[in-house]
Amino acid sequence: MATDTDSGYIDGFGQVSRTTGTIFRYLLLAATMFGIVTLAVLLVYVANDAIRPLTADLGWHLTFFLTLVVPTAVVGGYLARRNVPALKLGGMVVGMLAVSLLFSGGVAIVFVDIIPPLTGLSYVVGLLVPAALVVVLTKYEQQIPFTLRVAATGAAFVLSLVGVPGYFHSIPEIVRQLPVVPADWMILTLVLGGVAAVVVGQYVARIREDTTAGLAAGASALLLTGLAAVVGPALGVDANAAAVVTSVAFVPTVAYAGGAAVTRERERIGLLLAAVVIGGSLVGAAAVDALGFAGPQSWVDWQFLTSAHSGSAENAGLYPAIGGSILLMATVAALSFPLGVGAAVYLEEYAPDNAFTRFIDVNISNLAGVPSVVYGLLGLGVFVTYLGQPTGTVIIGGATLALLILPIVIISSREAIRSVPSDMRQASYGMGATRWQTVKNVVLPEAFPGILTGTILALGRAIGETAPLIMIGAPNVLFTLPTELTSKVSAMPLQVYAWSSLFASEDFYTKAVPAGVVVLLAVLLAMNSIAIVLRNKFESGN
């Protein structure tokens, strides 16, 4: 500002020079956009190579433009101006359907091809029995001493899942030896449909505050799954697949949409958007079929998703790698979640503030930054060389990746636990709660969404890791699904790496590699979107 420095007198209110500020602002914008735009260009390029939208007939594009894009734009535009929460609801339903469909594909791989349904059922029964015992023991918590309860539960789990060889059959063995074996789809309906029915039933019972409504909703969910499995084959869909997709994708989405329609009157209109998107896709698909327009000759097609590697890029597929990645993720989650959350709870709630904890503190942060190839070396050294395990198995790969993301899980879980207001802890301690009661009843429920978000994002990191898997000797190419924890495993990024290095040829570069990258990114985006939705729900909840 133009001031007379001697007198402090301000002689005008005119423009102050803003040129420097403007230049600085746009430089910062350029810095922000540089990475994002570069990556976006690359992704568009890869997606174009993989999906090849330009190979489709013009009529195909036109049909979908008319049936899907135009109605969605009209409805979406209307809602965007009139009722944004409704638009969000509609988008949420569509997104949920897409993500859960993707997820159901993974579940189908696991519960049909990797674990035979009968084995799955036998383990579910084997888990249900001790779980029921736990529930009963919790009811009589006060009467039975703690150590006795722990011992009884532990013994029940071991006896029921492992048994005593030669003396006492474990429950899974007994179930597998039952003379009457129902068809696979019945087992899937019972197990997966049962889980979906329980979840939906509880959801409905909560929003309607009516147990009967919840029971009815659960029963109809189960019925719907069974019906899909029966009707599916008539429509050319495998009964197992129909049962899985219905219970994992359709039932939860319908329940969520129905629940929103009942409880959120003002936003109910948003379901129109979901109806338009889903209806438009179906109508479009039927129309192209009837009119005989050819779709794009995408490299990401059913054949790519369901077959193994092949000598020619056209016939190569990602199936064993997808299954391997799913198994690895399950192992990583099972190992890193309890360890990470346990460590985070200890460090935040129990550990005294002394030199030792500060030392651990600093080192966890450092571990999060150690290159993944070093973790691969650690896995190789500890599990393969020292413990003498075979190289490249699911359990070794999972353990190595779990070590890799453990610091990230710990750090994000600590963040979530720290964000629980200390008022609530004080209230709990003031009521005479022990530390454990406070952690269990107040801290963990409050921190759980944050912990889950952090863990999912960390899993997203693990699913894209290649170097540690190479280090522990995971095979680049695998032609069958890994079916046990001790079978050799490949993973999506490893398969893509193999195509681009071992089978390096123009064909693989332009066909298999982009298709693999697109599948990997789709899985990653789905996981991250779940994490983001959870976080938003968590933040708006407070």
Binding site: E209, Q426, Q437
Partner: protein
Amino acid sequence: MNGTEDPTNDEMLVETDVSDGLSASANSVSRDAETVISSENINVWYGDDHALTDITMDIPENSVTAMIGPSGCGKSTFLRCINRMNDLIDVARVEGRLTLRGKNVYDDDVDPVALRRRVGMVFQKPNPFPKSIYENVVYGLKIQGIDADYDEVVEESLKRAALWDEVKDRLHESGLDLSGGQQQRLCIARAIATDPEVLLMDEPASALDPVATSQIEDLVEELAEDYTVVIVTHNMQQAARISDKTAVFLTGGELVEFDDTQKIFENPDSQRVEDYITGKFG
């Protein structure tokens, strides 16, 4: 259990070595049947900071004892000594004797968790759990493993906290959906649901509007019929209105005067207290 001299009380406080607690309790009965809490030369340090200096006072049963004083004078610290909430602060160190019905709560054989089950606490900021109103009230019963008819306890506690009529139709909605004053009454209901012997209140009305404040004040007076209430406030009128005895803490963490409320406000012994009460400082 409150309001009666029950020599078995100390068994709950002490995990081991019950005989010691019993004899201590017997002593206290013969010494002064009226006194519930008695502190002798309590000193508190936060690291190097000497927060409380030689606090000695006897808090009588079934009455409201108010603690007033300017900010940072240690009145909340003293309140937290009674149920050992200071134990949760790493740097806090407490010295001296503080007895609850004759048993020194700083003895090695006293479990602070057991102590807090007998001494309820209401905090400055309403802090209901992010659970339903019902779950908030029964929280104490559940963690303490008290076998009772939960529905009955919830109704009884909410009625005593003068909240029942406002929430009886929405017991299963979140406690966080209530207004500030309602939340604080919910916290009071939560604290009295387990029927503690002593109720500690740390400026329970300081975050509330005048209407909610007067509701809380009425409530405190009613609760004093059954409970021994110790309340920290920096509102002198409030102390004058609701308390039977008043302790005045002044800067430096010392207890300057402790006497009947009427005497403190009308004819205090200490000139500093008179200056503070009449608003000359603080």
